[in-house]
Amino acid sequence: MIREINVDNITENIKEMCIEANYYLSPDMKKALKTAVDREESKLGKQILDSLQDNLEIAESDMIPICQDTGMAVVFLEIGQDVHLVGGDLEDAVNKGVSQGYVEGYLRKSVVKDPLIRENTKDNTPAVIHYSIVPGDKIKITVAPKGFGSENMSRVFMLKPADGIEGVKEAILTAVRDAGPNACPPMVVGVGIGGTFEKCAGMAKKALTRSMEEHSPIPYVRDMEEELLEKINCLGIGPGGLGGKITALSVNINTYPTHIAGLPVAVNICCHVNRHVTREI
């Protein structure tokens, strides 16, 4: 049975989701930040973490975006194969939602039309859209505005199979160490292992949208997530990079089959303002 969905519905949802993501941090992220205060040993680190709590409260009560870098809008669309979209072009509908959300929501317009000519598009479009076709008759939309302080510190490593699990761990630690204070720690570390060059980067981005309460369903990957979080928090970077024990709140790893000759690893770093909103229509 085919279900018709009008693209106007998508526009309206994306508009609301861009605004929601930039003013209200998700409950799991808020909880992770709150519990981090007790675990921080550095006095200055605690002070920074307290400021971040205050910042979230002010953002909600006074309607000021949590961070001035309200990001480039990354949109994941998981479209049920029994959905028939009507009423217009899907990509246009997504970008219309982003435009309305950023203009009406007093969000910063941070997108330039050309990477070298660098003229601002003035409505934060276009979004970066990741489509996937899934079973069913619904559309799952995730809007994840991504700030570039942390995006700029992200890396792809094309490792050799012989580098193995230790090579992967070292690559992730290298990316986090190099990111240091630039990525606004405490960070969330999204990792993609396997696939191809672009597949691992996509997985790393998707990993950032995972709930803080979820872990990899694969036992050895889950162990690696826990071990890396511990090791990252021993690097000394701390909140704001000003020294301390809380450098990351979570390490989220996704994996995929890969080629006999390769071991791609992508590390997508996000700051503590790890924004993502999901809705199903």
Binding site: D54, D62, P65, C67, R108, G149, G240, C271
Partner: protein
């Protein structure tokens, strides 16, 4: 240690600041980020005039979100300082005394800080709503066409920041990380 300082900066205040100090800045500061830095740098090289005097001033690396009606400014936290590194030594040599941003600086910037008796502060990255409340007024003074990247003059009251590189060249990012690295 907590310290209260005025902007523009005095030599006495700069001399008293040490890496790791938590400071509250009040007074007038300027805002400029990537595009404004590039434009001013190129203007100086072409011996053209620039829209601000650097002498004793603080530049805040920031691009705000739009202000709602009746407010001075929108969300207003620091951006990554390293993107300004290419332009900074020249500005410091021309009299700039303070910078507020976040993240590491190059060796060239650190040397220019020491050479000119200046200071680099970090504000809390990602605390744009909180920092917005410390900004009393905001006025675009140049390069309006750059939108969020225009040069602004801000009046701030008790704007919180941490001294990362002091005028002697001590660098908190290096020392503090060592202290907590196990």
């Amino acid at each position: 240690m907590d310290k209260y300082i005025q902007a523009p900066l005095s030599k006495a205040d700069i001399d008293s600041l040490e890496a790791g100090d938590y400071v509250y800045i009040s007074g007038t500061i300027f805002v400029a980020r990537d595009a404004a830095h590039k434009r001013m740098f190129e203007a100086i090289q072409k011996k053209e005039s620039i829209p601000m005097e650097f002498k004793n001033q603080i530049i805040y690396y920031m691009g705000p979100s739009p202000a709602r009606e009746g407010r001075a400014i929108g969300s207003a936290g620091p951006t990554t300082a390293s993107r300004m590194d290419k332009y900074t030594p020249l500005f410091l040599d021309m009299g700039l005394k303070g910078m507020i941003g976040k993240g590491k600086r190059t060796k060239e910037v650190q040397e220019a800080i020491v050479r000119n008796g200046a200071v680099y502060f970090a504000a809390v990255g990602g605390a744009g709503a909180l920092l917005s409340q410390k900004i009393v007024s905001s006025e675009v003074i140049a390069y309006d066409g750059l939108g969020a990247e225009a040069i602004r003059k801000l009046e701030v009251e008790y704007f919180p920041a941490v001294v990362v590189i002091d005028s002697k060249g001590n660098n908190l990012y290096e020392t503090a990380v060592k202290e907590y690295c196990t």
